[in-house]
């Protein structure tokens, strides 16, 4: 894998920009909700997959189950997030691991 190159461009489409701005607002709301509700989802979410959509949480066994919950429970929320919650809570150096 050689040094990758990215191209960066501004989007001039006002409709697309407005759509992403709305999505980003929903994304921001879900992030903000999670940051104030960690105590409601931990420790039961450790080692599992946590979905947040519509300022509501769901703990799943797999990513597919988490995304399916998003699609069925909050199909309108394209600001939904799903993440793996590590079983352990110690300090992290973000690198790949086995």
């Amino acid at each position: 894998m050689s040094e990758p190159a990215c191209s960066i461009e501004d989007v001039s489409d006002a409709h697309e920009t407005a759509r992403v701005q709305s999505q980003d607002a929903r994304h921001r709301r879900n992030n903000a909700w999670l940051q104030t509700h960690w105590d409601a989802v931990l420790p039961q979410a450790r080692g599992k997959f946590l979905a947040v959509a519509g300022q509501e949480a769901f703990i799943a066994q797999t990513p597919e189950e988490a995304w399916a919950w998003v699609d069925t429970t909050h199909p309108e929320d394209d600001g939904a997030i799903v993440q793996y919650i590590r079983p352990e809570a110690g300090p992290r150096i973000y690198a790949s691991h086995r």
Binding site: M1, I8, Q23, H27, P63, Q83, A95, S96, R98
Partner: protein, 146 residues
């Protein structure tokens, strides 16, 4: 260009530098994702959880090429997609490229924004002032001494 990130409280009680982004999937839809800003990472890497959402065609890396960290190497694939960021002035920015993606959902708990993307910007990570900024012309930073 100025894009503002955020300090985000994570599951372990640690506050980390995060950039909200939208990533283009196969159906033309954008998935919302929080990227850890990691100026020490050579490559931007998408989490396996995000890959599962995007449903993009993947490619294997060339033989002998690994994605390695302190803990060893991990299985990954390559995807070509767009990472979209919202500039502070409301303009949408598309970053198009080939990015790595982990295949094991337990390898990494979040996607990582690495130097392949960050190298296009000046990066400010300021905890004391609670600032995370990606800057590109016509924005720049200045250091003042009191």
């Amino acid at each position: 260009m100025q894009v503002t990130g955020e300090w985000q409280l994570r599951d372990d009680g640690v506050v980390r530098p995060i950039m909200r982004a939208k990533v283009l999937g196969s159906a033309g839809t954008l998935a919302s994702e929080n990227f850890l800003i990691d100026s020490g990472a050579d490559r931007t890497v998408l989490s396996a959880v995000l890959l599962a959402r995007l449903q993009l065609p993947t490619q294997n890396a060339d033989p002998g090429v690994t994605l390695s960290g302190i803990g060893g190497t991990s299985e990954f694939v390559l995807v070509t997609t767009v990472i979209a960021l919202m500039r502070d002035d409301g303009v949408l920015v598309r970053i198009r490229g080939e990015f790595a993606g982990f295949t094991d959902p337990k390898t990494l708990d979040m996607s990582v924004l690495g130097r392949d993307v960050l190298g296009n910007f000046d990066l400010i990570i300021g905890r004391h002032r609670n600032e995370i900024l990606l800057l590109a012309p016509r924005h720049r930073y200045r250091i003042d001494r009191e």
